[in-house]
Symmetry: C2
Subunit: 318 residues, 2 copies
């Protein structure tokens, strides 16, 4: 295992747990008879996606002191993600997430993250600020801001970076984790002051900056001092805005099996592109292809592609 003083290509912070997903597609939870078990949680998935590209990645999270918590560690390590920053919250069960798979566009999630998710129990005084400062990319999520002590810990990590290097805020907004959209918006605003990249869909951008038009949303994010704003518009493609201007990339054609995890695949690929110094259009094309590959499969973390697989997908759709 990598030593704690190593410099990581990517340090993600946030959700980790167990996805208990139906083995049947198009069948509601009422009728599903069998489930598979997968590593899950957005930040875990992004770390796995990056590791598949050969990046050194680590996840800052916590699990329960239970068999599912041990599974999270074992699975992360199996994917090559460093687990030295995965802590334990005794007394809190490791989160479990069920989903329903109704392709092409309906994938409801059922979260069992009570009484509190261990990944929201991360405390600022537990953070390894050296690792956080030195990581080439730090990746945090809006969900990490929804509850204390994770909110303070996430903001402390952002302040420790102070926009040195690449700091990404995944704008993921899940209403059930918040008391109101206004509450979310206020903390997102605070976080945006400390990051260099923001990525989200239209609703998440609206949540972040109060603007729903993709171009206006990207501009509003840029006005907050963000270097690269990435706005996902679903079937309308991805719009990215940075110092070099605006790029708009259409989605790849894909027979969607399970859309869950595609955004995390996009995120891992975004990190690879940023660290590789690619131009923005190449980054977004690559990330779109990575997302399409995962959307075409049942699993999330288990389906994260290698660089060769993404490049093959791009050639097929060239």
């Amino acid at each position: 295992m990598r030593s704690a003083r190593a410099v990581f290509d990517l340090l993600t912070m946030g959700r980790a747990g167990v996805d208990v997903y139906p083995l049947e597609v198009g069948v509601g939870l009422e009728d599903v008879t069998a489930f598979g078990k997968y590593l899950g949680g957005s930040s875990a998935n992004v770390a796995v996606a990056a590791a598949r590209y050969g990046l050194s990645s680590a996840l800052v999270t916590k699990t329960g002191a239970d068999p599912f918590g041990r599974f999270v560690r074992t699975a992360l390590a199996g994917f090559g993600v460093h687990t030295g920053h995965v802590g334990t919250s005794p007394g809190l069960p490791t989160p479990v997430t069920f989903c329903e798979i109704f392709p092409p566009d309906d994938f409801p999630l059922y979260f069992y993250r009570f009484p509190k998710a261990p990944d929201l129990d991360i405390r600022a005084d537990e953070l390894d600020l050296d690792a956080i400062r030195s990581a080439r990319i730090l990746w945090v999520t809006v969900t990490g801001l929804c509850q204390e002590p994770s909110r303070s810990a996430t903001l402390a990590a952002l302040r420790a970076r102070d926009r040195a290097g690449i700091t990404v805020l995944d704008l993921d907004y899940r209403p059930m984790f918040w008391s109101s959209r206004e509450q979310a918006r206020s903390y997102v605003g605070e976080a945006l002051d400390h990051v260099t990249v923001a990525v989200g869909n239209l609703d998440e951008c609206d949540n972040a900056v109060g603007v729903r038009d993709p171009r206006e949303a990207a501009k509003a994010l840029r006005a907050k001092g963000i270097s690269l704003a990435v706005v996902k518009q679903g079937p309308a493609g991805v719009l990215a805005l940075d110092d070099s201007g605006e790029v708009e990339v259409p989605p790849l054609p894909v027979d969607v099996v399970n859309g869950l995890g595609a955004g995390d695949a996009f995120g891992g690929a975004l990190c690879l592109g940023l660290l590789s110094g690619w131009d923005t259009e190449r980054i977004i094309r690559f990330a779109n292809a990575a997302g399409a590959i995962v959307a075409g499969q049942l699993a999330c973390s288990d389906a994260m592609p290698t660089r060769a697989q993404v490049e093959e997908k791009l050639r097929e759709n060239g």
Copy 2:
């Protein structure tokens, strides 16, 4: 569906949810790859066990407003259990329970019953007291006493019966549902004043009356005004004490696959025997055989036997 004014042979009150159980035996949750889905929860299981004998049974419980809650209703109805007293608690997820299956005697449970289980959200003012008073047997559980408003509702149901007919208290004690054993003991004591039958294992009897010796525990339960005390001693068999004296019945030999649910099978059989007017020894022999059948199978509710199956088992072991 039976009308709300019907008289039920058995009305159970308490836990219902979804059992997400490994399809692999002897494998920890860390390594399990596939799960099955079953109706679960002790009170649900007892109602199902009774329905398999042709008794009219109903369950008083609540679920979440979610697909798993719909599954609980559909599964109950499929087993012939009346669902007219199954309510809904919007905002609370339907409970999910994972287990590990390490035969012959280690079956840890992992409950996801937060922030509160809907079955603990049953309110006294929601009870159908006519149905509760008229049922030939009312079956309540100690777990129903662990939190409000279920505690007050359970005690209100017991008071409404006032020891008319057969009223059973399942002494089931699960430490994780209580802040202390003393807290549990105090409410169990209050409930015992209103029931006619008490059934539990040695630890549960200790919890109820502070005595661990089986004979002394049965006597202590009888001293609380209980007509029939049933003490399960595991490999040492079952001891029952009533007006006709003491009966001790050895367990049946069984290759245990999953011990979970065996106690609920025992409970359903106990109800059949009590309603049939059998002598105590016949009741306990029959209930032991029913429990053995379920212990020999992976599922709980799905494995509840018919009367013919139990009688066949008794003949095999005659």
